[in-house]
């Protein structure tokens, strides 16, 4: 592996690479994110943003109570978010545990959803507390079942104790396993990394190790995808692009529940990484409840009033 020529795979080179990163001033990052949250997105822009956001949703169910029935319903919703309006785009992917991957893939294919990806959470999601052998098997299972995207968690314990090389090596191994079969999203669980300096460090670490996407959170820990955290990650992919000419995607997940929040995310993308990132191949939003709010707001733009929630399906 060449790691973009940024590191040579040794602990020392990784340390040098990470130590050279400038710090993040928390107050300044918070202020910038808050300023961008004041952007007023109306009329044609809002309509465009809603449809773009729908196409970026990774429609997610990650519950112990997930069943085949539940996952099939999710798939139907993913392909045709509103069965009465086929101009609405499908979502980017469905996101499930690895034992549900085959169910999801088969069902999506059977209902004309070949274009919708299946993302599997992996590497002992959500805690990441397992042996490497287990993490590899976990990922292998998902790939064998037809996952086109792997959402792996990093070992936050290793990261917080400064064992960056361990985190790096895990990502490298999982990336090798994914090969050309699946896109790799690396989940930081920013709520556990806590500082923006750590978020930036994790971003650059994961990108050099081969991540295709960097993702904020599992959705199991709060706070999750806060605006300043996403801002810092978008700055990281922007700077990584200027260093390597490779565009890495960003996926906020957790806490984005309504259209307003989703549009704020798109504004962050537009004014930080740039409009090139406003595509499902470079920006995804991990969510479940969000999709229905996007649909409600879309109906409101068409009809001029808020419909009863009974008009959107609850799957």
């Amino acid at each position: 592996m060449s790691f973009y020529g940024l590191v040579d795979g040794t602990d020392a080179s990784l340390k040098r690479y990470l130590d050279a990163l400038p710090g993040v001033d928390q107050v300044g990052a918070d202020a910038r994110a808050a300023m961008l949250a004041t952007r007023s997105i109306k009329t044609t822009s809002k309509r465009w943003a809603i449809d773009t956001a729908i196409s970026m949703v990774d429609l997610t169910t990650l519950e112990g109570a997930d069943t085949v029935g539940k996952v099939q319903a999710l798939c139907a919703k993913a392909v045709r978010p509103d069965p009465t309006d086929l101009t609405i785009p499908s979502v980017g992917a469905v996101c499930v545990y690895n034992d549900m991957v085959a169910t999801a893939r088969t069902h999506l294919d059977s209902i004309g959803g070949h274009h919708v990806g299946v993302a599997a959470v992996s590497t002992a999601f959500p805690s990441g507390r397992a042996s490497m052998a287990v993490k590899i098997q976990d990922t292998q299972d998902a790939l064998n079942a037809g996952a086109s995207e792997i959402d792996m968690v990093i070992d936050r314990g290793a990261f917080l104790s400064g064992q960056y090389i361990d985190v790096f090596n895990e990502i490298v191994e999982i990336k090798e396993l994914c090969g050309d079969r699946a896109h790799l999203k690396v989940i930081f669980e920013t709520g556990e990394l806590v500082t923006y300096d750590n978020v930036r460090k994790a971003s650059f670490l994961a990108m050099a190790a081969g991540a295709d996407f960097i993702k904020t959170s599992t959705g199991k820990v709060a706070p999750a995808a806060t605006a300043p955290v996403v801002l810092v990650m978008l700055e990281a992919v922007r700077d990584f692009y200027s260093m390597t000419k490779t565009r890495i995607g960003v996926k906020p997940a957790g806490g984005i529940r309504n259209t307003k929040d989703a549009i704020k995310q798109l504004v962050l993308v537009n004014e930080t990484a740039g409009p090139e990132w406003l595509t499902p191949s470079l920006f995804r939003i991990g969510a479940s409840a969000l999709l229905n709010d996007l649909l409600m707001q879309r109906m409101k733009m068409d009809d001029g009033y808020y419909a009863s929630p009974a008009y959107v399906t609850i799957d």
Binding site: V27, G28, R39, T43, T44, S45
Partner: protein
Amino acid sequence: MSFDYAPAPESRAVVSIKPKYGHFIAGKFVAGSKHFPTINPATEEVLSHIALAGKAEVDAAVKAARKAYTTTWSKMSGKERGKYLFRVARIMQERAREFAVLETLDNGKPIRESRDVDVPLAAAHFFYHAGWADKLEFAGLGTSTKPHGVAGQIIPWNFPLLMLAWKVAPALAAGNTVVLKPAESTSLTALLFAEVCQQAELPAGVVNIVTGDGSTGALIVNHPGIDKIAFTGSTEVGKIIARAVAPTHKSVTLELGGKAANIIFEDAAIDEAVEGIVNGIFFNQGHVCCAGSRLILQESVADEVLEKLKSRMAKIRVGDPMDKNTDVGAINSKEQLIKITELTAAGDAEGAQRWSAPCELPTKGFWFAPTIFTGVTQAHRIAREEIFGPVLSVLTFRTPQEAIDKANNTPFGLSAGVWSEKGSRILWATQQLRAGVVWANTFNKFDPTSPFGGYKESGWGREGGRHGLSAYLKGVGHE
């Protein structure tokens, strides 16, 4: 389609602008004799006609202020004065949208700034000083203090309502009455504030507002019935005022020009520093006396910072100030645009390299694209003179001491900024900088509790905080 934000204009229906205004004297609006037009600098539309106060009007205003001082305001308890100030503050909040829209129409600044900065801060100044009104014995001037009497206050056009608040709130809290003159190009929010005074049932004559140009200002400065002069504006006019009041009994505070250094050390948080540079010089179109107009960059990070700055500047949204997504609005007047154009031409002539953000400027109104000059040295006019526009001069340094020497090498001393992730470096640098306000890892942050004012030719005295309040008080025995 791409993510071009559709126009999101704030409605101007919330304000009603009269075709013609008079003065506010002794609690009443009185007709003016001569008038001049006030325009919206973004469209050149004539908004209204403003009265030009002459000797008779200024005399009447001073007389009303004196009467109110002697008969009412100086006799009232601090607690009662505080109630009036709280009431004014609350009404300003209630009418915040009206103030914001009017300020943007008259001044050209973006609605986002008038809505999120000017108006809330103006109200905050009244709230803060309302709290002081009954605690003046703790202002550090001994247990027995007195107001000066009648304060003459002259304010600039860059933050019309906020500068009014900086002047009127402490004066009233301390027990003075005021005669205030707004800048000739931006009188409308002061006249709306006069309505607020009526609504708050402030006793007649406590606040008097006369409009006009420099000639009206001169009448106030030279009026024998005034005890204290407070002025915010150019250093040139500040010097004239200082000379005028020198042989008189008047107290004076001056808040004048600046040419602030914004120093970026190599260990700064670069992305936030870039935001700080943008906020330092492009906030309010650079019409800010404390603007970070000289960027002093450590050479080891200069290229990286400039590259990021340019790509950030390319995203600045310049245009209709009433659009909620506008970042940089219109230059306040044709005269100011001519001054900016002239000084930037001097930058070209002296060999600095100009780069402007690639933005489309409206055809009507007064506009200047956000601009930086690189290759600037201390010997350039654009490194020495206040441009008062969206123009940044970039200088570099090799050692921390060199940064400080360059920062201090100016007749001004209003503000400065320091960017570093190293605490000891920030503490060291802030001790060396000869500026009244030094921001660390931020810029252009204001708060009523924080004193603001200049060293050297940037002014006399402070505004805000206990220090600012003390400018409107004197210890008994110091008359």
